[in-house]
Symmetry: C2
Subunit: 247 residues, 2 copies
DNA sequence: AAGTGGTCTAGACCACGTT
DNA sequence: ACGTGGTCTAGACCACTTT
């Protein structure tokens, strides 16, 4: 009952073993696993340890567990996947390129009705907001045009902050901990103004990402990021094959 | 020591309690939590139960735990987020629209060098592949043009399958359990052929998603999905504020 | 009624990293 | 050396669901 000289924990070993059976197809979706106590005995561990592995696989979406029914291999999720949207500065630096941010315009003003509606999360017409527009560039080339609205009530000191060369996103990230964000991605044709800012021809395809950030207390910031479509792409590596943490 | 008449488990209650402290900002990033034993006593549970809650929060990315150092609130991740890419049929139906798939072309042939390179995951020039092209439509309007390559060696029976009205994605999902996928998203201008297929004007912006699917044994399928950029958008709701399952 | 997973405990030993 | 989290156990009771 003593552990062999391994560095890896029992429940990790068991978790990986079962996961391998599933992803290799040896255990097809719908396959029923032995009962917990039997598997514990098979692996030579206590039921608690076995339970830890099975519970984890269930939370990750590989298994479905039902009382009295048993434990089954889950159906893979319908062609869905997960895409990470990275921080712009980190993304540029990760490519080994020089990163710059330049503020183009700045102003404080009240929200319009359409803006408040777009922002959501309790934003109201007439509410004060800071509006910023700036350009992210990589090796001197336009990389992303950012338009941003910030709620001064949810970001203390934002009005005193100098964003002339520091992107507001980075500052906000440090100041407003643990906010939530929603995203929307689409393609659009560059208009005249956009084309000039991004050094494109009018009509060129661009990738637009709109990010809305909030805390439980209300909206924090709204950001629109526009990338030249031919040069930029979002990438998600081979990775999360199971569903997200379900909270 | 007996439980009060709650339906919720202790570790879930504790997990949510701590999570709330973090997302509300009461515990800022970097904040050090009391030691596990002390917190267990505070909550009136055993150390194992306390550990379950803390371990889970650490796996979800809210906490960083270091031996001898202690447990700390993590820094929020750099402006990253998670985007789900849904199944096309489900997506259309979710909008309450009529879904159709129509196969445009089909053929079996050997992979070219460039194709094999693009597919990756062990795909080799000269390897047999099934090539499919079809159009997904919603309420009779072109919704997405799909170009797909399938590895017959990894998808038994695919050559005998009739995809004239059934999208290959749905079939593959049922046949090839628990594969992994990587994704790439970008914007592009519609060429003449693409514009005709999607009923757009030449030059209109489109959203392109390339999905590569594989199992441990090798590549399964490669798919290119092109959406009219102005009508389609990817959306990720307010949700995963913590990092993905780390595996 | 019975079988299954869900939860919880009290105690123990270990690995690791700082001191 | 010491303090922290990491892991593990043997046993127990409960909740849920099907028979």
């Amino acid at each position: 009952m003593t552990q062999p000289p391994t560095r890896i924990s029992q429940h990790d070993r068991i978790t990986e073993d079962i996961r391998r059976m599933i992803v290799s197809g040896d255990w097809a979706p719908g396959h029923q696993l032995p009962v917990e106590t039997a598997m514990a005995e098979t692996y030579g561990v206590s039921r608690m340890t076995m339970n830890k592995a099975l519970t984890r696989l269930a939370r990750e979406g590989y298994l479905i567990r039902r009382k009295k029914r048993g434990t089954f291999v889950a159906q893979p999720r319908a062609q869905s996947a997960i895409m990470e949207i990275a921080d712009i500065e980190a993304e540029v630096r990760a490519m080994g390129q020089d990163y710059r941010f330049a503020l183009r315009s700045r102003g404080a003003r009240a929200l319009g009705a359409a803006e408040a509606d777009e922002i959501g999360s309790g934003a109201e017409e007439g509410q004060a907001a800071l509006r910023l527009e700036g350009l992210h560039s990589a090796n001197g080339q336009p990389f992303c045009l950012e338009t941003r609205l910030v709620n001064p009530a949810r970001a203390d000191g934002v009005l005193d902050q100098d964003f002339s060369t520091t992107p507001p996103g980075s500052w906000l990230l440090r100041q407003v901990p643990w906010s939530e964000a929603s995203h929307r991605i689409r393609a659009l044709n560059a208009g005249a103004a956009l084309a000039e800012q991004l050094a494109l021809r009018e009509g060129d395809a661009c990738l637009e990402i709109v990010r809305r950030t909030r805390t439980a207390e209300g909206w924090v910031t709204w950001a629109r990021l526009v990338y030249p479509g031919d040069s930029h792409q979002l990438v998600a590596a081979f990775a999360p094959r199971a569903k997200t943490e379900q909270r």
